[in-house]
């Protein structure tokens, strides 16, 4: 499978009468994007705002972050089974608007977390302080159930992102990257001396507000399967996950998954990147056993030498991570796992809720309990009402000078477990 990714660099976003992209500037018609967002009758109103790197702006509570893309050649469309009709994606030509994001915000549940600071110490920890953000705050109709509200905001964000992506359809990309994968047989013939390596991605799938969708299917209901690593670049996997801001994978991270992109860099050089294996993180223990059994079985059937395993979330997924690691290693396949840590505010507690000697190669995305002071910023997009009530906050959260004392947990993407962040440890 061969996918050409065209990058169109966005240098600025401005509201204007007509939506278009010209000389790297994205002009957005508020009226047009509002109409796109309000296509769903469950959304009563929506407000749009622009947040730029370096501005004294705090966005909260953030739900999802999405990179606009458009499929210009090849099968299917962006977000297959969700926005585009179901068709296998990952080949042909796709354009992405780089340097910007659509950020959805809205209070779906009363304890919702997710802060993006565009300046100050908080900005150093969230990757989305570096993007030009078109923020949409969606208000639902009265008496809506949380799961209906979540779904409405999830889809509204995708619709707006696809609308913006379409503006690039006729443009010439500033840069093009080619990602090409082999079939199993081709790979063996082409790289007979290279180790065979795959990526095992664990998808959050515990229930309401903790969901991920694969071609529109709730990942809770899948058994582990294999994908071409280019499929994610067309939005084959999307986030429905509202909880655990620091270590959830927003849709932006699925589209730009750094494990996939870094493995492509090594493909044909230091190893043969065989495929992308996806599995889930259900709450029912028998499901965990089935999924980890299947993941290990696939690794063996594919004659892999090694895998990189990434998880999403804390606690329950730690068990899936260790089960995957143990069972894959037992098949004679080496593993490197990527996680983050809840090691307490002093960093001295046990980092994971599960462990095993087989997990002897671990990459960390940082300690989510680490305390940080976020200074008062001039403007808030969304609401601060719940900041004192979000993960990692405590009664001392809001200090006299207006600054916030919080744990890294509250910052969107701070300890991301695919490495889409700034932290690690040696």
């Amino acid at each position: 499978m061969r996918l050409e990714m065209g990058h169109i660099y966005i240098k600025d976003i401005q509201f204007a009468a007509e939506s278009k992209i010209e000389d790297g500037i994205l002009y957005v018609s508020e009226e047009a994007v509002r109409a796109v967002a309000l296509e769903d009758e469950k959304i009563k109103s929506v407000s749009f705002d622009i947040a730029k790197p370096g501005e004294s702006v705090r966005i909260t509570p953030v739900k999802d972050v999405i990179e606009p893309r458009v499929k210009v050649e090849g099968r299917g469309g962006i977000f297959p089974g969700v926005i585009a009709k179901v068709d296998t994606v990952g080949e042909g030509k796709t354009y992405a608007l780089k340097g910007m994001a659509v950020v959805t915000a809205g209070k779906i549940v009363g304890f919702q977390e997710g802060i993006i600071d565009m300046t100050g110490p908080g900005a150093d920890y969230t990757p989305f302080s570096k993007t030009l953000n078109l923020v949409m705050v969606c208000e639902p109709v009265d008496d809506i159930k949380p799961h209906d509200y979540e779904k409405a905001v999830r889809f509204a964000g995708f619709r707006v992102a696809v609308y913006l992506g379409e503006l690039a359809r006729e443009l010439t990309p500033d840069e093009t990257k080619v990602y090409e994968t082999c079939t199993i047989k081709e790979g063996m013939e082409k790289y007979p001396d290279l180790p065979r390596v795959a990526y095992v991605q664990m998808l959050q799938s515990q229930g309401l507000l903790h969901d991920t969708y694969v071609y529109g299917v709730d990942a809770k209901k899948i058994v582990p399967t294999i994908m071409s690593p280019t499929e994610i670049m067309d939005g084959a996997i999307v986030s429905g996950n509202c909880v655990s801001a620091c270590d959830k994978n927003p849709t932006y991270v699925h589209l730009n998954n750094p494990v996939v992109h870094d493995m492509f860099e090594q493909h044909g050089k230091t190893f043969n990147f065989v495929c992308h294996i996806i599995t889930n993180e259900n709450v029912y223990l028998a499901d965990k056993q089935r999924s980890s059994d299947w993941t290990a079985k696939l690794c063996k059937m594919l004659d892999l030498d090694g895998v990189i395993v990434s998880q999403e979330g804390f606690g329950n997924p730690d068990t899936d991570l260790i089960m995957n690691c143990k069972k894959i290693e037992a098949e004679g396949v080496k593993t490197v796992i990527i996680t983050d840590e809840y090691a307490g505010r002093d960093g001295k507690s046990q980092s994971l809720a599960d462990s095993d000697p087989a997990a002897d190669a671990v990459v960390t995305g940082g300690n989510a309990n680490q305390v940080i002071i976020l200074p008062k910023l001039d403007k808030v997009i969304g609401t601060l009402d719940y900041v004192t009530k979000i993960a990692g906050a405590s009664e001392e959260t809001l200090r006299e000078d207006g600054s916030l004392e919080v744990e890294l947990q509250v910052l969107t993407g701070a300890t991301n477990e695919t490495g889409f962040n700034k932290l690690s440890a040696r």
Partner: protein, 128 residues
């Protein structure tokens, strides 16, 4: 596994209200960590853990509610269940206690989330 083969240990009044007619629900008006201890005691009696004690990304000591599925029947003490529940009890202590800081409507949201996480486990159990 059918709906008669497991019981639910919970401190979530919404779970009791919604499921008491159709499931074996053991309701206790105790803390999150005490629910984990109650489950641990039952594992020592020979029940098997069926759903993950740290289900949900809402952390212990943030949400006050926890519902856990265990087997109705008893057998030998299940070592894997014991390890999971002991690790979960330890994990509780890493989080600053703030379950009592929220405004009233937020507790409704916590209850709904806990119920839906449980339902996601029950859906798997009932299908088997």
């Amino acid at each position: 596994m059918g709906s008669r083969d497991y019981m639910v240990i919970t401190n979530n009044p919404l779970v009791l209200d919604r499921l008491k007619e159709t499931r074996h629900v053991v309701y206790r008006d105790i803390s999150y960590e005490e629910i984990l201890r109650e489950v641990r005691d039952r594992i020592h009696e020979g029940h098997t853990l069926l759903s993950h004690p740290l289900s949900g990304s809402v952390k212990p000591n943030e949400t006050p509610y926890k519902s856990i599925m265990i087997s109705e029947g008893k057998g030998e003490v299940d070592e894997a269940s014991l390890k999971l529940i002991e690790n979960a009890i330890q994990a509780c202590r890493k989080f600053i206690f703030k379950s009592d800081l929220y405004e009233a409507p937020v507790y409704d949201d916590f209850q709904i989330i806990d119920l839906t996480l449980l339902e996601s486990g029950m859906a798997s159990a009932d299908a088997g």
